[in-house]
């Protein structure tokens, strides 16, 4: 596990999905990957495959037809994963708020870790967001890597013996 985590820290792969944006943020993501801003110096590579990705860059207020795909892609990314909402309309609906075929913002469907403002978000902001997402990714992987403390105490809940809290994470429920 340690072997992989050092790689993941230095080269997170991003998956990009357009959930109904105007293309503005999408080309800014491309521009951020291109030589002038060069997001790739952090080892970031744009992949097309959710199963190999760590960071999920989403643009656009979710349209009706892209809802299913968004959730499907999100669930295919392995844990730990970080979701970055790029652009004003991704965060709140922006200018599209209240239009008949959009949901206002992606956080109605998937949990978001980093919101990037701007219409369109500038590449500097996107780089900032990805750098922030890397920190969150690190915390999340640490959280996942914490070992389970097996064979904890058997508790009595509602006058019944319960084994529910037997396998708690180290650090949680220190009182046991």
């Amino acid at each position: 596990m340690k072997f992989f985590s050092s790689f993941r820290k230095r080269s997170p792969w991003v998956l990009h999905y357009n959930a109904g944006s105007c293309n503005g943020c999408d080309i800014e993501i491309l521009a951020a990957l291109a030589p002038k801003y060069d997001l790739e110096r952090f080892g970031v590579i744009n992949t097309g495959n959710p199963k190999q990705s760590d960071i999920f860059l989403v643009t656009g207020p979710v349209t009706y037809r892209s809802r299913e795909r968004l959730v499907e892609l999100y669930s295919q990314i392995p844990e730990p994963k970080v979701v970055v909402a790029v652009g004003s309309c991704t965060a709140t609906g922006g200018v599209f708020r209240g239009m008949y075929n959009v949901e206002d913002g992606i956080d109605r469907y998937i949990p978001v870790d980093v919101y990037v403002p701007g219409c369109a978000s500038s590449p500097q902001l996107i780089i900032d967001a990805v750098a922030r997402a890397l920190e969150i990714l690190e915390t999340k992987s640490k959280e996942i890597e914490k070992p389970f403390k097996l064979f904890g105490a058997i508790e009595t809940i509602h006058n019944r013996l319960s084994r529910l809290n037997m396998a708690a994470k180290v650090g949680q429920n220190e009182k046991n």
């Binding site: 009706y64 037809r65 008949y100 075929n101």
Partner: protein, 114 residues
């Protein structure tokens, strides 16, 4: 801009006599809600290589009457026809709903309240 009035039954004949593929560029089919259950349908053409020449055939209709399809004359009209089926809930032969709208979207967004 030249506007020519036509009727739905005469549409195919009129456009068939008018449209030459090498002379006219077909722009789109358009609908405008006039209120009270009426709609104005437009078929818009522009001329290749001539400045500012746009011809609009228009017909007044209601939402119940089926609209004849001009795909047999102009194959690229299929997109415009599918769009008016979605946006106005009209009936057009050979075009079915679902270009833009999902089953739980508004049934016909651009149709006015009647």
């Amino acid at each position: 801009m030249r506007k020519i009035e036509t009727t739905l039954p005469a549409l195919l004949n009129e456009i068939g006599a008018f449209y030459l593929p090498k002379e006219w560029h077909f722009l789109s089919v358009n609908g405008i809600d006039l209120g009270g259950g009426k709609i104005e349908l437009q078929w818009i053409f522009s001329r290749y290589g001539v400045k500012d020449e746009i011809v609009i055939y228009y017909a007044l209709s209601d939402y119940e009457t089926a609209v004849p399809s001009i795909v047999s004359l102009i194959p690229s009209a299929i997109m415009g026809e599918r769009e008016i089926v979605d946006m106005f809930g009209l009936k057009v032969d050979g075009a079915q709903r679902g270009l833009y709208l999902d089953p739980d979207s508004l049934p016909h967004p651009l149709r006015g309240e009647s």
